[in-house]
Amino acid sequence: MKRIRIWLPAVFILIVALTAVGQSTSAPTLASTVDHEISTIEKEIVDAAEAMPEDRFNFSPECLNLPGNSYKGVRTFAQQVKHVAASNYALWSPLTGDNFPDDFMGGNGPERVRTKADIIKFLKDSFALGHKAAATLTTENMLQPVGSSKSPRLHRATFAVAHAFDHYGQMVEYLRMNGIVPPASRAN
């Protein structure tokens, strides 16, 4: 009985250790690889959105009236974030089978989403859909077109990430125009 009591914790530790080793060496799947990409841009873009003060959320370079610029009518910071979120929904919802809400049409998301908190929630929700979409990807279905589009599933899943990076790059400049170093650059 005493021997069992000594061995039980050792066996438990061994099982935990083996499980951990198994997890760290398991080969990444297509779904996990795409999910990782989504997580990367999600962190950068959510952190950037949170770094912008609420009273600057409707900032557009147009309002700086820089001499000789071409910023007339460009998206505000809030619209950049909403555009990324709405595009995420448009690109990922066909993969998950979720409905694409009518009021998301127009590229900038619903008019009713206005406050910083609401916009960030909209953004986070769109990335939650992205993780769900990534989980549907397999090596068997990745090249299948989905919905009415000719784009294969894999293309839709990863194009959304590249598209978000394009707008993240613009958000970085908007932050710096407001004297804010983007969170991802602060460690450097």
Partner: protein, 191 residues
């Protein structure tokens, strides 16, 4: 008898001809396109963002190449050089070769090595072309090869996408540089 035999032959022939003509004039559901390979998809994505950067490099005035929007940022030229150099870092890791020009350590080449707009354009073009060649040569099987990257092993497909996304981020920054100089980015002029 002979006339009726001819009619028997002619009627089905006529029916076939009419049916064929009708089928050609009526819209049909087009056959689904054959599935494209993963390498083709990756190549399209690689070229799409690469060509957008090349278009900017060729289009932006040379006398504004050292423009930057804020201090502590890369200039227009340095953004392009960094994006292309990072593409080379990935190309070299995936191909296991030292393809491309020598641009020093890291992924921030000095402007001293690429003094003119022509030098920068050539470097960006070379990076896009060299990457495209490796994607084509390695094909689908190459995308599943695992290679060391930092402290972990990665599928090369992951690294290609990483480079594409990284270029997209810098493209986004250059969009803002463009408009600060009263110019519309080439890709936005088409819309």
């Amino acid at each position: 008898m002979k006339r009726s035999s001819l009619a028997l032959l002619a009627l089905p022939l006529l029916a076939v001809v009419v049916a064929t003509l009708l089928s050609q004039t009526q819209p049909q559901n087009p056959a689904p396109l054959p599935a494209r390979s993963r390498a083709d998809e990756t190549l399209d994505r690689w070229n799409a963002i690469g060509n957008k950067l090349i278009a900017m490099a060729q289009d932006f005035p040379e006398d504004k190449y050292d423009y930057k929007l804020q201090k502590d940022e890369r200039t227009f030229a340095l953004n392009l050089l960094h994006a292309a150099a990072f593409e080379y870092v990935v190309i070299r890791a995936v191909s296991g070769s030292n393809v491309g020009p020598d641009f020093g350590p890291g992924d921030n080449p000095s402007r001293d090595l690429f003094k003119t707009r022509a030098d920068v354009v050539k470097f960006v073009q070379q990076a896009v072309a060299d990457g495209a060649d490796v994607i084509k040569q390695h094909g689908d099987a190459g995308l599943d090869r695992t290679i060391p990257w930092g402290k972990t092993m990665h599928h090369s497909s992951d690294l290609w996408v990483f480079a594409i996304e990284h270029s997209a981020e810098h493209y986004g920054q250059l969009v803002v540089y463009y408009r600060a100089n009263n110019m519309v980015p080439p890709d936005s002029r088409r819309q």
